[in-house]
């Protein structure tokens, strides 16, 4: 029988102690080395961490400043979220660092009692677990505004899909980081903490700790779960509140709707009030930051009004004198300058462009054809040049100053879409070249020509090719998310889209386009009458203007313009001497319909009937027509159905009449010129017609408005 005392004797028997001794010197050297390298490691870790934090903060501020600078500056809207993010991050980093320092002081010391030491280790593990499980909150949430801005800036101009992919990759990266943390939590930190807690439990009670070690204590898992629950609830609450706020405040912009009034040609107080009310409604509906409108008749402005803010952040009210970017509306100004310089003998519109460029410039990949392109062809989109400018032609970070050498270099590689004068192709490049040719021929910058020839005589005070820093311009906004966006002219030429002007100035310009004055009758006829193609047929355009007819009262000459950050439309009826200008400082919805609607209703009788003895509006009730068994199937509100009748007239009768009257083009006239066809067969159509559509075997009567947009789609 052995007693514990016997074991103690064995233990204390000096002869049995110890089997090894320590080489004092060697150990001391190793220990000193390790202590030294440990201190160095900690120091470098701290330096690295602080360095990273400082780097991130500096980066955030730098990106903010950069974005601010890119957007033209002045509105703190861009830099503010970055500063908030930077401050948020600095705050989190400081907090993190301070709490780390508190922990670090005692990180590796073991001079407390075993229990004290274990308790400290548990709290350390707890801290690590908290840090890791709240990873998303420490590192991601405070940075989200910054990430969003960075994403926006880095994907500038990229297609929507690329933006989504970029955003998706960012999300994937964060998810992966978070996943790694969670994994480490699950496989390392939590088991470690549970082990420590089991050891502590072994100290606390009289029982054997081994029993507790076998499983994690139920209380600790309850704590973990309740913590998770609280965390989840808080997260859901925050997301819920933010989401609700966004949802409650977000409403997608809708396209403008046609006004209820039909005739405003009197322009009395009543008419103006109706226009005001409708435009106010439209601004609300389409969410324009601002909209500026002017209507001019017989040289006098009969209506002008501006709505909203030229800068929504600083709440600067827009007026009809507020200057806006008008993008392609520029082209009618450039074309006007060309005609004026032609009249003065500075240029000859019928001479080739090549004469106004340096001799060694090669135009297009077909130089012989390219050499024959005339200025008139450039001004009427009949040159064969493609739509876009083939690359960067601007210097100094995309601002206005054209670098001709770059343009010439790119010009040699351009492919003609048809031989000059043999077709029509809308070309920004063509108008850019026209502007450049005018500058070279007159030996004056385009803006100077504009100021001397047009702005001076017409008293346009807010109009310039935007090189004038003294001319403030309404802040442009992107759509659908309204963010300030200053356009860069990097791939655009001033003569094609560089103009800045106000609704008031546009009204004066329109007035000049209608009656002889600054422009002679001879010049006006070049604006009003379609340019002829080589085969003698009229093109769809005159010099600068698009010619179309959405009203029965004759042609409408119009020009629209739009970019990511602006939308503009001007148009006039030369026969009725009425013009409309509409400008907005946002990329969409386009303001074109607003202009058309106003112009149509401003012309006496223009809106009275879609077809009159004077002519018929180019409108259609359906947006597509196809033929099945010699019967038309039409697209109405996105849905295709066989057409049975129009205004209770059986379709067969209409077709019979059309075939007799128009023969081979009967179907085309039916599809594209319905008002004219109906009038010709003795039926006076209204703007709204009743279509009999076969839906599910039954004929349903549907009232449909005839619109220009529908007809445009039919033609396509």
């Amino acid at each position: 029988m052995m007693l514990f005392e016997d074991l103690e004797i064995i233990w204390r028997d000096k002869g049995a102690q110890p089997t090894h001794t320590i080489d004092d010197e060697a150990l001391r050297r190793i220990v000193a080395d390790r202590a030294h390298s440990y201190r160095r490691k900690i120091l470098w870790r701290d330096i690295f961490e602080i360095g990273m934090d400082v780097f991130v903060v500096v980066m955030l501020i730098a990106v903010g400043l950069w974005a601010e600078w890119r957007s033209g500056g002045g509105h703190l809207r861009v830099i503010s979220p970055m500063l908030v993010t930077a401050i948020g991050y600095a705050f989190v980093a400081t907090f993190r660092f301070a709490s780390r320092q508190r922990q670090k002081g005692r990180e590796k010391l073991f001079d407390d009692s075993i229990r004290g030491n274990l308790e400290r280790l548990v709290s350390n593990a707890d801290y690590q677990i908290r840090l890791k499980s709240w990873f998303a909150w420490w590192y991601l949430v405070p940075l989200i505004p910054g990430y969003m801005l960075i994403t926006r800036s880095t994907t500038e101009g990229a297609p929507v899909l690329a933006r989504w992919i970029f955003g998706g990759l960012m999300c994937l990266l964060f998810w992966f980081m978070d996943w790694g943390n969670k994994r480490q939590l699950r496989t390392e930190l939590v088991p470690q903490k549970e082990e420590l807690e089991a050891l502590l439990a072994g100290l606390e009670n009289g029982g054997r700790s081994a029993e507790i070690r076998s499983g994690s204590s139920p209380s600790s898992s309850i704590v973990t779960w309740s913590r998770r629950f609280v965390g989840l609830t808080v997260a859901l609450l925050i997301f819920g509140v933010v989401g609700w706020f966004l949802w409650a405040n977000y409403r997608p912009a809708e396209n403008p709707e046609a006004p209820k009034f039909d005739d405003i040609s009197a322009f009395d107080e009543n008419d103006k009030a109706r226009i005001d009310a409708w435009l106010r409604e439209t601004v609300e509906r389409a969410q324009y930051p601002s909209l500026s409108v002017a209507i001019v008749r017989a040289g006098t402005t009969v209506y002008e009004q501006a709505f909203g803010f030229e800068n929504t952040w600083r709440e600067i009210r827009a007026t009809t004198n507020t200057a806006y970017h008008v993008a392609s509306v520029t082209k009618v100004f450039t074309a006007s300058l060309a005609v004026m310089l032609h009249e003065r003998g500075v240029v000859d519109l019928d001479l080739p462009l090549a004469r106004y460029l340096p001799e060694d410039v090669v135009i297009s990949t077909q130089p012989e054809a390219g050499e024959t392109i005339t200025l008139r062809q450039l001004a009427s989109h009949t040159s064969g040049l493609p739509r876009g400018v083939p690359g960067s032609v601007q210097s100094v970070e995309g601002r206005y100053a054209l670098e001709p050498q770059r343009l010439y270099h790119l010009l040699a590689g351009v492919k003609l879409e048809f031989l000059p004068g043999e077709g029509e192709r809308y070309s920004n490049l063509g108008f850019g070249l026209l502007g450049h040719a005018l500058e070279r021929a007159a030996k004056k910058p385009l803006n100077q020509l504009l100021q001397e020839l047009l702005c001076g005589p017409l008293q346009l005070e807010r109009t310039a090719y935007h090189v004038d820093e003294d001319l403030p311009v309404a802040t442009g906004y992107t759509t659908p998310v309204q963010l300030p966006e200053t356009h860069s002219y990097r791939e655009r030429l001033a003569g094609s889209g560089g103009l800045v002007t106000s609704a008031g100035d546009l009204a004066k310009f329109l007035a000049a386009q209608m009656q002889p004055g600054v422009f002679t009758s001879n010049m006006l006829s070049q604006f009003h009458i379609a340019t002829r193609l080589k085969d003698g047929l009229p093109a769809g355009r005159s010099l600068g203007w698009r010619i179309d007819s959405a009203i029965p009262g004759g042609v409408i000459l119009s020009k629209n313009g739009g970019r990511k950050n602006c939308s503009a439309w001007i148009g006039f009826s030369p026969d009725h001497d009425i013009g409309v200008a509409v400008v907005a400082n946002i990329g969409g919805p386009e303001v074109d319909p607003i202009g058309y609607w106003l112009l149509g209703r401003a012309i006496p009788g223009g809106r009275a009937k879609p077809a009159t003895a004077n002519g018929a509006a180019k409108v259609a009730p359906y947006s597509g027509v196809r033929w099945e068994n010699n019967r038309p199937v039409v697209e109405v509100q996105g849905r295709w159905s066989p057409l049975a009748s129009i205004d209770a007239i059986p379709v067969e009768r209409i077709l019979e009449f059309a075939e007799k009257e128009y023969r081979s083009v009967a179907r085309k006239r039916f599809a594209e010129d319905l008002p004219e066809v109906l009038l010709a067969m003795g039926h006076q159509p209204e703007w709204e017609v009743t279509l009999g559509l076969e839906i599910d075997g039954q004929v349903r009567r549907v009232k449909v408005e005839m619109t220009k947009e529908n007809r445009d789609r039919v033609r396509r």
Binding site: F4, L7, Q17, I22, A26, L27, S113, I114, N117
Partner: protein, 167 residues
């Protein structure tokens, strides 16, 4: 405290208490290489702890605390120590075997102690080393009564086993 003072205190403690460190290492690690590793770790911690020693307790109590805490922490990371140990093996030749013959019964006691969980191991080691309940309570951070309860159970477990194994 400058480095030379730290070094001299370290040397002083080492001469006096290296038995403690050796016993704890031997009771906590199964093979010689691991023991070397643990001894190194304990020595480092003792070295680091020297500036914090205020003389509020006996130096031996201090050394026990640091050594046992380090051994517990080391034991928790034993796996990772084994993995990284290879690099250390080269420069860690400070354990010199003595000519003493191996004592089978002593080996048996060490073997049993190694099988205890770290808390019980610490308790029985301190007890075998002749530390009073008061000192043990101080080192572990629990009450003297609790020490008594735990030790009487441990003593019984160990003697039962000794009789069972008939050493």
């Amino acid at each position: 405290m400058n480095e030379s003072e730290q070094a001299s205190r370290f040397g002083e403690w080492y001469r006096e208490y290296q038995g403690i460190v050796l016993r704890i290492a031997r009771a906590s690690a199964f093979n010689l290489a691991d023991q070397e590793d643990l001894i190194q770790e304990i020595s480092l911690q003792i070295w680091n702890s020297i500036p914090n020693f205020g003389g509020n307790c006996k130096a031996s109590t201090w050394v026990y605390r640091v050594a046992l805490n380090t051994a517990i922490a080391w034991g928790r990371k034993e796996k990772s120590h084994r993995e990284t140990r290879e690099g250390l093996a080269e420069d860690a030749h400070f354990l010199k075997e003595t000519a003493e013959p191996r004592n089978e019964k002593l080996e048996w006691i060490y073997d049993q102690i190694r099988r205890f969980d770290p808390i019980d191991r610490s308790l029985i080691l301190l007890h075998l080393d002749g530390q009073s309940y008061l000192e043990i309570a101080d080192i572990l951070g629990i009450s003297e009564k609790n020490v008594g309860v735990k030790l009487s159970r441990l003593r019984k477990t160990l003697t039962d086993k000794a009789n069972n194994d008939a050493i």
